[in-house]
């Protein structure tokens, strides 16, 4: 079932067009990755969904109903963890959670339960009384996400939640988000790290210049790439005749201490390994690179994801 749908969404600012005819279908219960470079329109999309910005034109529906910014019932289904730390820095972690919980209409036991839960998610139970301004960047990030969970939303919008977070905290955030998905929450996750999208998301939308270029699972997306393989060889392990032989499989370019082979269309891996055996070469000197979303992005736009 589609939980969130966007049709021909447009949004311009004074001089830039942030979204142009953006179309998107996000399935209920999925972990949806919005992958795109800086300025692609990820935050603009999330701001419109959460009711901060109003689109110039186009339609958004939540569970089949047109999304109206003033509809409180709809807002309670959405949780937003903004790209920037949106917390009152002078207040403690607990006070922030309490304040935002109250805004969602929570009170009494439910409120304190949810505060405990959010503090746990943020791994800040022992620092609950500390002011947010005293937290490290990673701690603030975690609280920024946890705050969006106070009201148990159906759909969680996470705008680049791992910026400036160390690998350990990052894994903790990933685990939390995957747990939430396990509990049936829909997660929309924006990032420009393809590793994150590949690792977490079961649906990925590639966004660039305000447009969704492709959506699909990792596998279906990668199938779009022309069937080329990249094989890297340690340059030192190949003598001159070996190198000539290596070239028969395609285009070779030096890349640091290795040689990179981009294979021809009729390439067969079995032929390649037969050749290494014949030459008496060690197979472990060769690495077959999997095509990645990065390659797909390059293929679709002609530019790097992190240009």
């Amino acid at each position: 079932m589609t939980i969130l749908q966007a049709r021909n969404l447009r949004k311009s600012f004074a001089s830039t067009t942030a979204l142009q005819d953006l179309n998107l279908d996000i399935q209920s219960g999925s972990f949806f990755g919005l992958l795109g470079p800086n300025g692609a329109g990820k935050s603009t999309f999330m701001s419109i969904v959460s009711g901060f910005l109003v689109q110039d034109s186009g339609k958004l529906t939540l569970e089949g109903q047109a999304l109206v910014p003033s509809d409180i019932a709809q807002k309670k289904k959405i949780g937003l963890s903004p790209q920037h730390i949106a917390l009152y820095k002078e207040l403690s972690a607990e006070s922030n959670l309490k304040l935002f919980g109250k805004i969602y209409g929570l009170s009494g036991k439910v409120l304190s339960q949810q505060i405990e839960y959010a503090l746990e998610v943020a791994q800040l139970s022992d620092r609950r009384k500390s002011a947010v301004k005293e937290f490290s960047g990673g701690m603030k990030r975690r609280l920024n996400i946890a705050t969006a969970l106070m009201h148990k939303p159906k759909i969680l919008l996470c705008d680049e939640p791992t910026v400036g977070v160390d690998p350990q905290s990052r894994n903790a955030i990933f685990d939390t988000l995957l747990d939430l998905k396990g509990e049936g929450m829909t997660v929309v996750y924006s990032t420009h790290y393809m590793e994150e999208a590949e690792r977490l998301c079961d649906q990925i939308g590639i966004i660039d210049a305000g447009k969704i270029l492709r959506t699909g699972t990792l596998d279906t997306l990668l199938q779009e790439l022309p069937r080329t393989n990249i094989i890297r060889a340690r340059a030192a392990s190949l003598d001159e005749s070996n190198q000539a032989g290596f070239r028969q499989f395609g285009e070779v370019e030096p890349d640091g201490s290795s040689l990179q082979l981009k294979t021809q269309a009729d390439f067969k891996l079995s032929h390649f390994f037969r050749w290494t055996e014949e030459q008496g070469l060690d197979a472990s000197d060769f690495q077959i690179a999997r095509p990645s979303l990065e390659d797909l992005f390059l293929h679709l736009t002609g530019k790097d994801l992190r240009e």
Partner: protein, 448 residues
């Protein structure tokens, strides 16, 4: 040194990027000097100040001589004479003692001059006039007092001539005095060619002489010079209609203006703080929740209004402890006035936030508007000292109504009922500005 220069250059670059801020930088001083200049370089003769202060005049005496004072005051460009009261159905009716006083209570004018029936003293030489006043503005009061004295001194010879005649007649006896004048006139007509006896005799006596004198030489100089000599002869009975009992009149009159300016500057700061919250992304988060823009704006409005009331009251309480301003007897009224004034000032701050794109612009607009409103609205100079068009504009400012309300509460010690007109205007300003800003917020930069 290089580092400093680099940083200075950075500041200039940033500054030059904000076109509105640049415009404001030049507009603020231009505006301030325009207003101050208008006040001080007028055509008036009161130390460079021009003014048109309203003065009600009621000549109770039937004596024609008394009318010269009125004429003298009429000729004074700095005074706008009021000669009659508003009767039923807006007709004009002549003043009486009751109605001329009522005009001060009703704020039609702040000063009223009564030339009483017995303005010439029965005993000895001298005259007595009555001045009713509401000296709610120090400068205005000084100016009007000076002008009245000047006029009377100038007209003094004429005013007192009949009295001197009478005095002389009593001294010499009726017949003797007449004979003396007859003889004196004959002597003059004989001694001077062209001086006919009839003419000279007609102009005899102090009354006639003073007429001759005043047509030729009497000007303001001589009037003022004679001041020392004649001082004791003039008695001005002052009747202060408002503020008579006030212990620290100077501060009591000024404090309202300062309170308003204070509220306005504080609210500019809070306008800038709205931008801070936006930059922190707090608005984004709040609006993703069951919160509307109007909730955010109302919460800011209520908070800043309350804060303003607390600050204003603190100002008054401090002035009570430090300088004996009579705050506590009027505390409830001050609280109510502060509430309305603070609401209007906060609404002004919200409007600033809604029309500005950056906190710097809000500061710039704020300074510009606060200084010009304070100057035009009477927080610094009395409105009556400004050119007519500026007085009209002044009455459209929030400062004017704030100052009037505070004067009402603290100087005139008026009850809340009497303050209803001023408070209603403040409320209307608050509502109007809030409507304007909530409309502007829809298109402005704050929620983007």
């Amino acid at each position: 040194m290089n580092t400093i220069l680099t940083l200075v250059r950075k500041d200039f670059t940033l500054f030059l990027k904000d076109k509105t801020a640049i415009v404001l930088t030049f507009l603020v001083p231009f505006f301030v000097i325009y207003i101050v200049g208008n006040i001080f370089s007028g055509a008036g003769d009161n130390g460079g100040l021009s003014s048109n202060i309203k003065l009600a005049v009621y000549n109770e005496s039937s004596d024609a001589n008394a009318e010269v004072v009125v004429e003298g005051l009429e000729a004074e460009t700095s005074i706008e004479l009021v000669r009659d009261a508003t009767g039923p159905d807006d007709t004009r009716v002549p003043f009486d003692r009751e109605s001329i006083r009522q005009g001060i209570v009703d704020h039609d004018y702040n000063f009223a001059l009564i030339i009483p029936q017995d303005y010439l003293k029965q005993e000895g030489i001298g005259l007595r006039i009555e001045l009713l006043s509401n000296p709610k503005n120090q400068i205005e009061t000084q100016i009007i007092n000076g002008l009245i004295q000047k006029t009377i001194f100038t007209k003094l010879p004429q005013l007192m001539s009949s009295q001197l005649d009478k005095y002389q007649r009593e001294l010499m006896g009726d017949t003797q005095y007449t004979e003396f004048l007859d003889g004196f006139a004959a002597l003059i007509s004989l001694s001077y060619e062209g001086a006919e006896y009839e003419d000279v005799r007609g102009n005899m006596g102090f009354e006639g002489l003073s007429k001759l004198l005043s047509s030729g030489t009497a000007d303001s100089e001589s009037g003022e010079n004679s001041g020392g000599l004649i001082d004791g002869m003039i008695e001005i009975d002052e009747d202060q209609v408002f503020g008579k009992e006030i212990e620290n009149p100077y501060l009591t009159r000024m404090i309202g203006g300062y309170a308003i300016m204070f509220l306005l500057f504080a609210t500019t700061g809070s306008a800038a703080s709205l931008f801070e919250e936006r930059n922190d992304g707090i608005f984004l988060r709040l609006l993703s929740m069951p919160v509307k823009r109007t909730h955010i704006l109302w919460s800011k409005f209520i908070f800043n209004t309350i804060l303003g009331v607390v600050q204003a009251l603190t100002l008054f309480v401090a002035s009570s402890f430090l300088f004996n301003v009579e705050v506590f007897p009027n505390f409830l009224n001050l609280l109510v006035v502060s509430l309305f004034a603070s609401a209007a000032c906060t609404a002004f701050g919200m409007l600033l936030a809604s029309i500005s794109k950056t906190p710097q612009q809000a500061q710039g607009f704020g300074t510009l508007l606060i200084i010009s409103m304070s100057a035009m609205g009477g927080a610094w100079f009395p409105l009556s000292m400004m050119p007519e068009p500026m007085q009209v504009i002044g009455k459209f400012t929030l400062v004017y109504w704030g100052v009037e309300s505070y004067l009402g509460a603290l100087w005139e010690e008026a009850g809340l009922i009497a303050l209803i007109p001023e408070l209603s205007v403040l409320a209307a300003i608050a509502i109007g500005l809030n409507l304007l800003s909530s409309w502007r917020f829809k298109t402005g930069n704050l929620f983007r």
